[in-house]
Symmetry: D2
Subunit: 339 residues, 4 copies
């Protein structure tokens, strides 16, 4: 990292900064500039934000600039090869771009079965559905809970599709692990570190959604929490960030795909349903995601969005999902992949 | 709520929208406009975002505009009188503006005692310190846990100041409730609904921080989660939102104070330490918070910020905190309050 | 528009609101709700934000909600057919997706000629280069001015490619109109209404860039300024918005493409070079733009980015641009278009 | 500035970076770190972003980190003493906090005179009113133009208050200079560099508003454009930035006050009327501005906001403005200043 001294910093202040570096285990390399002195600190600062802070508050110090990212296990530097995450018989991070589809919430056996059959037939690789729902209002449907998990398991039984579902509360971990193939961490819990550690310890494949105000750097730090528990089965999911634009529910940040591809070895899933929030934008943005290099896409599908208990407006009907799949195939092929 | 039909919507589509409203329990009042029809839906839509969605995805519907806010118990309309939250012998929401002070993290008995004595002497009303810490890196200090709670209790013993501390994991609830006087929900957990419900059930006073990308409306919905469990002891805390500006760590949104005063009866605490992220901006923004109408302020104080294990750069040293208190008194008086 | 009265508004206040509506030329339709009265105002509020405001500040009024967008000529409702903009022999808004390429700044005849030949050979349809540059620092190169325009004209002469260049100052309008085929309005001037009116009056094709903090609604209002002068040759250009994310220079908002396609008849150009700010992200995001439905893309190309006087880091070298063109063709085909 | 080489950069790449630095006039100081080499470049990089870019795109370079801010004349380092700007007989940047007040738009002689007398009586130090208006819609009132300027001059004649008004179009410069005492640059033109240069050349006092998506660093670069023309009479005006929050029209960024106080010697004016967009939040945020250290405040006042042609909803009526002045006096006194 680099310590920038204030213009006119006293020699003792510079000395104090150097001494502190040495105490913290770094080797100081001062450079006297035209207007101020800077001091390079040679050492491995990864995972030590407290060292940055300890130096930044010394007297005479203007700022401290970290050079290395704070994440390590998640970095491509640490692990140059693409990681592949296996879920049932589906491999994510391969040439094939899996499509995860299903309703926002599990509402009934009938609903789940109908949608599961439809998305399977249209070519989906995995099924998703929420049994525990993070709702912005305490008065709305909070999910079917364990009954919902059982219905999801029935859908897997019938279609053979692996099942992904969200986990909200550490108390539900055992139940979710018993029934699901992928644990999903939602945007609102992306910095719920207690939960991240627990899904890390579970060893299960995790679909980690980016938080609404999470930078890409921080997103990789969230993944690091899971990786640090020895669980390498992490898929990153771009699902939109919060900006001033209100024409879409979120600003689906497709740029995150090439940026993440460069910085990390983990596979990237794109979620245009939450990313845009309106069903009519889902198909073009799904195609764009594949063109940008996503390793998978996740799409909300509902047989009857008008009566869906959550996120109906961003769900595709099965026949529109089928059309999406038909359009996605040539785009995937155009970028050298397949659906 | 109001349903706006698309220009050229068919009569059957308009009929369908009206029928759906009636099914959902609303009375439809159509108005034929110059370019399109709108339909007012008379009824109480609070806490029913699913109704908004059910209507918004009907064919021929352009959009649905809710009229009432989704929160109810938190609204000033529901409860016009200011709520006062009592913590030990401190009343928040009164003419007196309490100052909560203390270190970001509990690091040792010695550190806590020294700071607690100093802030007590300078006139603080409550003491704060983190025993469980949400850190962006899994490799950094995560808090002293139950040992930290015990140290906080010792500080209360000696100074008489009530104690506030953050709760991260539902598993720690019993321990935190045993030792603390106020449960703090941090910005990263502001939409961790599982946790909100549990602190609601505890009945304890709660200091609820605004999330980094939480609108004021959503913030009140987070409070509603706690209120809906029958716990009225909720203090709202503005601590900065995430914007494009990087000169401050967050953009401390002081505007939230008059906006919240208008919309809710709950007391508002301002946190200029997290809000700005730099100790040199804390005092002016603390004074501004009081001038804007905050019911309390919360300030990070550390006896030795250079070696603080977290957030050192935004902590005031005790003598600077004392100066802040001296400057705060006349500002409070200027707006008809006292410190 | 809809006027929402406060809960408990007095009958005289409601009457005043109705009277004011009538004065302003609207027909009031009150609906008495459970908690408050709302009044629908039937009339054409487009282009009359002052009516919204006049009503919103009446006593007893909580808020006013406009139903119609403030733009008219730009709306698809007004003009359902896609507008085609013709520049030289290039038609924008057709099945063919034109590629506009060239350096950020005109630096010399040699530089321009070399790049122009290269992009022509690789298949570009138009050439771009800045003769007047909006630079964030007053101390940096501000463009070659009229000499730069002449060099651009020479490039057109040799390659046959139409020329696009930015206009910053109304004083330069005559010169730019004399040499260029397309006038470009940059992000920083997207709400410089004096300039918008003048390019509108020129009748020339305009490439209007979205401002860094311009919503899609406001972007269409900027276009409306040009259209209102009788100039229909407007191309909208998405080039990234400002958000909290710093991994990219801007957050290239690809979602704007399907949103604009729905709301307006004007063609949409995508600018992944400014949108992302880093050359290595340009190609994936260019492909994504085409997949999302862009009517054209604009790409920065420089023969020697290391010595470019502006925006070098986001420029592609000619051979990388050629590779982009080769990758773009099958993606365009996959979505039923061609390059 | 500091050049960070990629991990594993080849020795020739490091050599090339050093050579390039020398060519650009910097002295290279390489430091070999644990994972990568960094090279300090000793020299004065202020005002040379092109050097940063030239280095950042060399092969093997990961990123370049500037150490010095890009502005020079605006920096407190360059000019440690507070600058005082004199407008008529008002000095801005002194212990006294001047209040600038008046309507958004000049609408008639009668309106202006009535408001001017009222704000003068309440204690305002300057009068403001728009003769040229930047309106988001081309169909709304665009200002009275030169007639408006004449009315403003009459208000000065009668009340003795200096006059501030916005300039939008370089064509109007002569007229505005003839009638006004302060030239105002609005948020939408804050990066209209052609205009900034011209107001710089005029030598007149300038009130420069921060753009909606302008960082504090960029804001100071905008000021630098005016200062670089030899005009030191620049007042910076915080008027709100654009964020995701919609409860206020903008997010009035009060934190900018202490940040700017630290970085620049120029006086800072706070505009809570545009900053919040709602009259009921103006008074608390005006008081907060003074408490935070603003050198002046600017307030919209209208005698009849219901019929104001622009920004009525954020205007105070004269009697409310008078109350604001009465409340402001003790707050100013509490922070050691006076109104």
């Amino acid at each position: 990292m680099i310590v920038v001294m204030k213009s006119g910093a006293a020699p003792e202040q510079i000395q104090k900064a150097k001494d502190t570096m040495i105490e913290l285990g770094y080797q100081p390399h001062p450079i006297e500039g035209v207007l101020r002195t800077i001091i390079g600190a040679v050492g491995d600062e990864r995972g030590k934000p407290e060292d940055v802070e300890a130096l930044s508050i010394l007297e005479g110090v203007e700022k401290v600039i970290p050079i290395l990212p704070a994440y390590k296990l998640a970095s491509r530097e640490f692990s140059p090869e693409d990681t592949k995450v296996t879920v049932g018989d589906v491999v994510v991070g391969n040439n094939k771009v899996p499509v995860i589809a299903g309703p926002c919430s599990v509402e009934s056996e009938e609903q789940v079965m109908e949608i599961a059959r439809a998305v399977k037939e249209a070519g989906a690789s995995m099924f998703r559905g929420g049994a525990y729902k993070p709702r912005s209002s305490p008065y709305t449907f909070q999910g079917m809970g364990i009954e919902g998990l059982k219905i999801l398991a029935m859908a897997r039984e019938e279609t053979g599709l692996p099942i992904g579902t969200e986990i909200l509360d550490p108390h539900d971990l055992d139940a979710v692990v018993e029934y699901a193939d992928v644990l999903q961490i939602g945007a609102r819990n992306s910095q719920n570190y207690a939960l991240l550690k627990q899904v890390g310890q579970s060893g299960m494949p995790v679909l980690l959604k980016r938080g609404m105000s999470t930078t890409i750097k921080e997103f990789l730090m969230c993944a690091e929490y899971i990786l640090a528990e020895g669980n390498e089965n992490v898929m990153l999911c771009e699902r939109g960030i919060r900006t001033f634009e209100t024409a879409t529910r979120n600003t689906f940040d497709l740029n995150a795909i090439p940026v993440l591809k460069e910085r990390t070895h983990l596979p990237i899933i794109a979620d245009p349903s939450h990313g845009t929030g309106y069903w009519q934008y889902v198909t073009p943005m799904a195609l764009a995601s594949i063109a940008a290099g996503a390793d998978g896409i996740i799409i909300e599908v509902h047989n009857n969005p008008e009566v869906a208990v959550s996120d109906g407006g961003q769900s595709l009907k099965p026949h529109k999902f089928k059309m999406l799949m038909e359009k996605a195939a040539p785009v995937a092929k155009a970028v050298g992949r397949e659906i």
